[in-house]
């Protein structure tokens, strides 16, 4: 049983060049790797930090799972990248990031890290959805309605191919 190695890159304040460099540096760690990219999408849903699917794929990244934690990337960008054989996840709405509360990202990292060769990528991604439901419910029970709404929105807006 081999657990998946999960890398997270917070590209929020990086330039396109810096992002390409960061992606190129991890390109060789591929087969059992999941990559989470945090940053901004675009209204059209075709770009991540002003990079198109072609520009991202040109960095030769081949993770098993690529997760865009950014606005609207689930609309088109994930489909274009998934078409090249990478299981890709994104969101079809605005992703609201609370920098003081990293529990939503940690939930992705934890479920992906526990993915082994017997678990399909899609099952692993669905486990994150379940984890987010529990997280949102707990926020709700504790009357943190704004946090509950943000977390549940993440969960409902998630799309993968």
């Amino acid at each position: 049983m081999i657990d998946m190695k999960v890398s997270t890159i917070d590209a929020s304040s990086m330039s396109s060049r810096q992002i390409r460099k960061a992606l190129s540096e991890i390109r060789n760690e591929c087969n059992d790797t999941a990559l989470i990219l945090i940053g901004h999408g675009s209204e059209s849903g075709t770009e991540f930090m002003n990079l198109s699917s072609t520009q991202i794929l040109e960095c030769n990244i081949r993770p098993a799972i690529l997760w865009f934690f950014a606005c609207n990337c689930g609309k088109f960008l994930v489909r274009d990248i998934a078409a090249k054989g990478i299981t890709t996840v994104g969101h079809i709405c605005n992703v609201i990031i609370d920098r003081e509360d990293t529990s939503a990202i940690e939930a992705i990292e934890e479920t992906l890290a526990n993915t082994d060769s017997n678990t399909s990528h899609h099952q692993s991604i669905e486990s994150t959805r379940t984890k987010w439901f529990i997280l949102a419910s707990n926020h709700f029970i504790n009357k943190k309605f704004f946090s509950a709404a943000i977390t549940n929105q993440l969960r409902l807006s998630m799309r993968y191919y």
Binding site: S12, N94, F133, K143, F146, A149, I150, N152, Q153
Partner: protein, 200 residues
């Protein structure tokens, strides 16, 4: 239900009449018994300061304030900041009650507004409960965060930082974001309740 909430809904009553027999005081006592947190104010300055600096879930304002301003003027001030706050416009003045509906269209179009006749036999507590059902839970949560000193807390949305206080101010962008979050919260409530039923 609002009354079972750990944080009772806060209601501001602005009625110029004072004294224990005044409509504002009697009504405040009546709805306090239902578990609401009620403040009765009787002058314009206190009312406007309260609205701009404190968390409030529902505003009840007398239309006829016996000053230059009316309840409609307070409604305008409320709407500049918050288009979702439920407001009950109350009056016992026949002049207001006899006015044609055309005189109220702007008020009705501005957001959740209810009218109440002080001469009515309708129980005012029922009106408050109805207004409480219209409270936006997402805005309420943000407003409570702001009152608890977290107004400067930032959230990042597509590369732009918004503080809690900025999210509370109505604009096309913030209203759209909050509408999305409200729908997400409603979906969560439905799913939690459906799970609870399944586990019974």
């Amino acid at each position: 239900m609002p009354n079972n909430d750990a944080l009772p809904y806060k209601i501001l009553i602005f009625d110029d009449q004072i004294g224990i027999d005044s409509w504002g005081e009697v009504t405040a006592t009546q709805i306090r018994q239902e578990g609401f947190d009620v403040t009765h104010v009787s002058d314009w300055t206190t009312a406007t300061e309260f609205i701009s600096s404190r968390h409030v879930d529902i505003v009840v304002v007398d239309l006829d304030l016996n000053i230059r301003e009316t309840g409609f003027d307070l409604l305008k001030i409320i709407r500049e900041r918050n288009q979702a706050l439920p407001v009950i416009l109350a009056t016992g003045n026949e002049t207001y009650l006899d006015r044609p509906i055309a005189g109220y269209v702007d008020a009705l179009a501005s957001g959740p507004v209810m009218f109440y006749s002080k001469n009515s036999e309708v129980n005012f507590t029922d009106q408050i409960i109805e207004a409480a059902n219209r409270v936006d839970p997402v805005r309420r949560s943000l407003s409570l965060m702001s009152e608890a000193g977290m107004g400067e807390k930032e959230f990042e949305i597509d590369g732009i930082s918004y503080t809690v206080d900025e999210l509370l101010i109505s604009s096309r962008r913030t209203d759209e974001l909050i509408r999305g979050l409200r729908e997400s919260l409603q979906a969560l409530i439905l799913e939690m309740s459906s799970n609870a039923h399944r586990n019974l």
